[in-house]
């Protein structure tokens, strides 16, 4: 990004709208982008980030603001009253991460109206992938005729002890546990 490293200014959630407004008043009046990331595994938050630019000096002056939205109450003030174009980015973040933007445009942007879930949350399981056989599950030197005892799972499908064949006596796995086990690779040995 113009050869410079941006560092985000961390803003409390309740001062999100006023901080964006303040940055605009300081001359960062061009909205570049707004994005969201899932911090699961580190903190129980989503991080919403916005980049604003000052076009006066060739667009080189930038300000990056970010805020941590709690996972159990993913609500944030919409900034579309300050930058109209941010509404589009907020709709995308809202449907992909299951956020709610107060005062934002609640309509869906990309997903079909019948789609359930938030596909970019890391605990989102690729259910259709769990249901069909993965060609990569086999070990070298293995065929269907001589299955190996080691097990591999594809990315996006958790360990069956965590999701799918979980012991019904246990409560459903925490989102962080599901997210941690969807990286793909070798499955840990069954405990029972």
């Amino acid at each position: 990004m113009s050869g410079q490293l941006l560092s985000a200014e961390d803003v409390p959630t309740d001062r999100w709208l006023s901080s964006v407004q303040h940055a605009r008043d300081l001359g960062f009046d061009y909205f570049d982008w707004l994005g969201c990331t899932d911090d699961i595994g580190r903190t129980d938050t989503f991080r919403v980030t916005v980049v604003l630019r000052d076009l006066a000096d060739g667009g080189l002056r930038t300000r990056m603001l970010s805020t941590a939205v709690p996972r159990d109450e993913p609500v944030l003030d919409s900034i579309r009253t300050v930058f109209v174009g941010a509404g589009w980015h907020e709709r995308e973040a809202a449907e992909l991460f299951g956020l709610r933007f107060t005062g934002g445009d609640g309509r869906r942007l990309l997903l079909s109206p019948t789609f359930e879930g938030a596909p970019l949350r890391k605990e989102q399981v690729l259910g259709s992938r769990a249901a069909v056989g993965w060609p990569g599950a086999k070990e070298p030197g293995e065929s269907a005729a001589s299955p190996s005892r080691r097990r591999m799972v594809p990315p996006g499908v958790p360990d069956r002890d965590v999701w799918g064949e979980r012991d019904s006596a246990q409560p459903p796995a925490e989102p962080a546990e599901v997210a941690a086990s969807t990286g793909g690779g070798r499955v840990r040995r069954r405990s029972r």
Binding site: V132, W134, P135, G136, K138, E139, P140, G141, E142, S143, A144, S146, M152, P154
Partner: protein
């Protein structure tokens, strides 16, 4: 310059390591293999086994021509080729086995 019409298998380079099948985002590569004891060993050497490829198939109805398998193969057993995979009347006929995937 080599075109990106299809992917060919150089069978003698393949060690059945499964890396391409695991890296493939569209799950279009199927590999069957078995292990055999190496017979051609010097006297007194410890017995070794090697993997022998039985089946290597690419399902062209799933392949999205991303080339990740070509990039990931540590043994250069997969290569881009100019000729396109031939069309077929049924989906199952789009699964090409070792003879169809060998370089011409």
């Amino acid at each position: 310059m080599t075109g990106h019409g299809s992917i060919v298998l150089i069978e003698q380079n393949c060690t059945s390591c499964m890396i391409c099948a695991r890296e493939c985002p569209s799950w279009c590569i199927t590999i069957d293999s078995h292990t055999e004891t190496v017979v051609d060993q010097p006297a007194g050497a410890r017995a070794r086994t090697e993997n022998v490829l039985d089946r290597f198939a690419i399902d062209w109805s799933l392949c999205m021509f991303c080339g990740i398998c070509v990039d990931e193969c540590p043994f250069d057993a997969l290569e881009w080729a100019t000729p396109q995979a031939l069309p077929a009347r049924t989906l199952t006929a789009l699964t090409h086995e070792i003879p169809d995937l060998s370089a011409h």
